[in-house]
Symmetry: C2
Amino acid sequence: MSSTSQRARSGEAGAAADTRERIVRSASRLFQRQGYEASGIKLIAREADATLGSVYHFFPGGKEQLAVAAIRHGEEEFADMLRAGLEGDADAARAVEAFCGELATALRKSDWADGCPVTTTALETLGRVPAIQEACQGALRCWQEVIADKLRRSGFAAEEAGELSATVLSTLEGAETLSQIHRSEQPLRAAGRHLAVLLGAVHAE
Amino acid sequence: MSSTSQRARSGEAGAAADTRERIVRSASRLFQRQGYEASGIKLIAREADATLGSVYHFFPGGKEQLAVAAIRHGEEEFADMLRAGLEGDADAARAVEAFCGELATALRKSDWADGCPVTTTALETLGRVPAIQEACQGALRCWQEVIADKLRRSGFAAEEAGELSATVLSTLEGAETLSQIHRSEQPLRAAGRHLAVLLGAVHAE
DNA sequence: ACGCCTCTGGAACGAACGCTCTAGTCAGAC
DNA sequence: GTCTGACTAGAGCGTTCGTTCCAGAGGCGT
């Protein structure tokens, strides 16, 4: 993962690697908040306290390569949040509902700005930038697998868990978008309740 | 260009209105496919067989005003599709599932390009262009009301229909996005099946 | 016939875009 | 010391952006 050997120094903790990560984090946050096209590389660099030279040093592939890195960063960040959130309750239905509540609270706290870290970029570049689309596919697959794993450990059959996890993720994504646009926790809260009902109904079969 | 004399030939009353509508349709389709920021006004005009002068004549408020008109156009278009699709079956659960199938087929036929006509633009401009955000809120509210109406006519209590319609729309939006990114009908098909289960479970209570 | 008004066509503007380029700084290897 | 390679800094490239502006074209009331 680390690029070279110059981070062996521990005192200042790899200034270069640190710059790279600041750039990725800045890009990820800007893409999440206002999308790919509206986030200029110069702005990304400024927000990361870096310069254009640094950006193109670490990402010679330009904005596209930076976007792929940013998507992957968002993938891991949200996967961690998802795993942690679903651990709270042994019952999958209650865990999913609780996670919707967490998502709603976090979204409101960011003034409805920090939604899904990949959806906006994914929709903007669909069918036009294959590398970005593949990164987004990977992120969604990762999150879906986290959900499917929780469902399986909660007693769902493997095949059923695979299909249900797709719908759970779809509903989470859609409800998050609706909550952002309406500036209201209601869509996410309703989604949580109804996903719990759905999981309960399927489980009872 | 033969466009100089086409008006004299047709002699129809709405020649100007026709240009305006071509511009709106072109804008709506481009915003739907590649978002607000990536769709330049010059490209919109070209695709509509219009000129910059025409665009700024009909939309002196510039790109923002054009976007609002495009969103409203998409709102009506999708509302019609939703109403027609839900009419197919008296039972709301089966109607919703069938509509998911229609959506999936249409999406595949467009090579996964023609998704929700407002989501991309909405996410890109969230919190930065109030007029566009309000138009998007209006579109979502309209579609949700179409769904809620179907649920009420299908025997759901008014309050329940209001909440359920939010989740149905969330799931539709999210599943459409997932289908586009994965280039697969599967997320939409699964969403349809599970929404039918959910509506059945709530109805049985 | 005339002027009036709506609508069209496109040149031009400043700003911002992604990106390239070169000069410079700095740490460690020799 | 000198060299080397990784990293920083930012001026500047060509292009495209949204927008403005104005000179016409066409239909219409008079």
